[in-house]
């Protein structure tokens, strides 16, 4: 499926109206195309009620006098829905928000003891928070189910996860030395995706056993 073909079908896919084979082809394309993946987020299904709405609504004959009458007092004394706050207070609120979100990120991405982790940069940070949180959940699930897996399977899982973790740590260290390097950022994301995928498969095995 090409990018153009995908764009034609994206709305139908978001609404769950695509045939299974077409949906599978579309998902396969999404997995390897970052730009189309971003489009999917924009193609959120509309609430069901919106489909029943008329396509256009004609305005009443002359609305301006009414609008003007309601705007006039606001220009003198400030609107009811607007927050009136001094500039220094807004700046302080922004600093507080940034500090708070950075703190949460740092806690979630805190490396295990004995291992150094690189700080994530720019747009990568929120992505890594999501990956780290999801990976922690899956790891916990896998740990709980460990007893149900054959020892040989556990060894296979541990060996593969060790390879992925080592690659992830190495890429993150390199990114810390060269923040904003797009190639390194992609490699970090690829390593996270590999880890998530492997953990999902391992967890599925343990729940099916």
């Amino acid at each position: 499926m090409t990018c153009d073909e995908l764009r034609d079908r994206l709305d139908a896919y978001a609404r769950g109206m695509l045939a299974a084979a077409e949906a599978a082809a579309l998902e396969a394309h999404l997995e390897r195309c970052v730009s189309c993946e971003a489009l999917l987020a924009e193609a959120e299904p509309q609430p069901a009620g919106t489909q029943a709405l008329p396509k256009s609504v004609e305005p009443a004959s002359d609305l301006w006098p009414g609008i003007h009458a309601r705007l006039a007092p606001r220009s003198r004394g400030g609107g009811r829905g607007r927050i009136a706050m001094p500039g220094w207070m807004l700046a302080a609120a922004a600093v507080l928000l940034i500090a708070l979100s950075s703190g949460i990120t740092a806690v979630l991405l805190r490396p295990p003891p004995g291992r150094t982790a690189a700080p994530a940069t720019g747009a990568l940070a929120p992505l890594e928070v999501q990956y780290a949180s999801a990976a922690a959940e899956l790891s916990a699930e896998l740990e709980r189910a460990r007893g149900r897996l054959a020892p040989a399977t556990v060894r296979i899982i541990e060996r593969n996860l060790a390879v992925i973790d080592s690659a992830l740590a190495e890429s993150r260290r390199a990114l810390a030395q060269d923040p904003g390097n797009a190639t390194l950022e992609r490699l970090v994301i690829a390593a996270w995706r590999q880890k998530m995928d492997f953990l999902r498969r391992a967890t599925a095995l343990s729940t099916e056993s």
Partner: protein, 292 residues
């Protein structure tokens, strides 16, 4: 005295024969009618499973059930389920073979742990999963999904959609076309005589080797952490190349491009007017592009 000895020999022979019956493999020979596009689920945790598509609306199973297991099969219309299950839950069994003939266009789901899975003659969809065993699929199917934790995966044929994943095993793709997603952790990915329209090939430490062509408007995206990447492509391929290795080197030796090879940590160029998009990224693997 002689009579007593004969009775003893007869008793011993009887006990040996009955004992043998308890550990001998049991032969399987069963069949049921089913729709041509049926969904079929197959469980064979330890033994080999061979699936063959045929031009009949029925499932035929032959093979052998190892001691301590029982064969089961049921279903009608568009759904069926069959397999080998241990007589005692949780007990580990080994061996056993299932030869299963299914309608060509069926959707077949197979689950195994230590066993291997082979598919041929089908045109429908397969979803195959094993932990330590290998998987081999031959033919052009609508959809191939194959996953193993450690086993080798081999897919031959130009199926429009192929998704294959393994951990330490090897992935071998022969004459692959359409959209392909292949991923390993430490195992290699090898594509031979490929003609893909879209592909994402990913490993962590395993090497990737791609030999063949890419559709005029196709995309080939390869990523490794430490595995080397090798592309063997027609010298006249119309494509944009975007190659980068942080700790390795990208080398391009396409005679149509220029007299001397391009080299660098990052190489970007257009060959023969462009068309396809080829992106290769590695953290410390070497990237090589050769003409064929």
């Amino acid at each position: 005295m002689r009579r007593v000895a004969l009775v003893c020999i007869a008793l011993a022979a009887f006990s040996v024969l009955t004992g043998r019956a308890s550990w001998a493999q049991q032969k399987i020979d069963r069949r049921i009618a089913i729709a041509a596009d049926a969904s079929i689920r197959i469980y064979n945790m330890a033994g080999t499973t061979r699936i063959t598509g045929w031009e009949r609306d029925s499932i035929a199973v032959s093979g052998a059930a190892p001691p301590g297991t029982s064969f089961f099969m049921g279903g009608s219309g568009r759904v069926a389920k069959l397999g080998l299950e241990p007589d005692e839950k949780g007990k580990e069994v080994t061996g056993g073979t299932l030869e299963v003939r299914v309608p060509r266009g069926a959707r077949v789901w197979v689950k195994s742990a230590a066993g291997s899975i082979e598919v041929s003659g089908m045109t429908g969809e397969v979803d195959l999963s094993t932990v330590g065993g290998g998987i081999k699929v031959v033919g052009t199917l609508r959809l191939v999904t194959a996953e193993s934790m450690e086993g080798d995966l081999e897919v031959s044929g130009a199926s429009p959609l192929v998704r294959v994943k393994t951990g330490g095993g090897k992935i071998l793709l022969r004459q692959a076309g359409g959209d392909v997603i292949a991923s390993t952790v430490s195992g290699p990915i090898i594509a031979i005589e490929a003609q893909m329209s879209g592909a994402r090939l990913e490993t962590v430490s395993g090497p990737v080797s791609y030999s063949g062509n890419i559709d005029r408007r196709g995309t080939l995206n390869i990523q490794t952490h430490s595995g080397d990447i090798e592309l063997l492509l027609p010298t006249t391929i119309g494509a944009e190349f975007d190659l980068a290795s942080t700790g390795g080197l990208a080398t391009v030796a396409l005679p149509a491009k220029s007299g001397k090879p391009l080299k660098g940590r990052s190489v970007f160029f257009t060959n023969a007017g462009g068309g396809a998009q080829i992106v290769a990224r590695s953290f410390k693997g070497q990237i090589s592009v050769f003409g064929q």
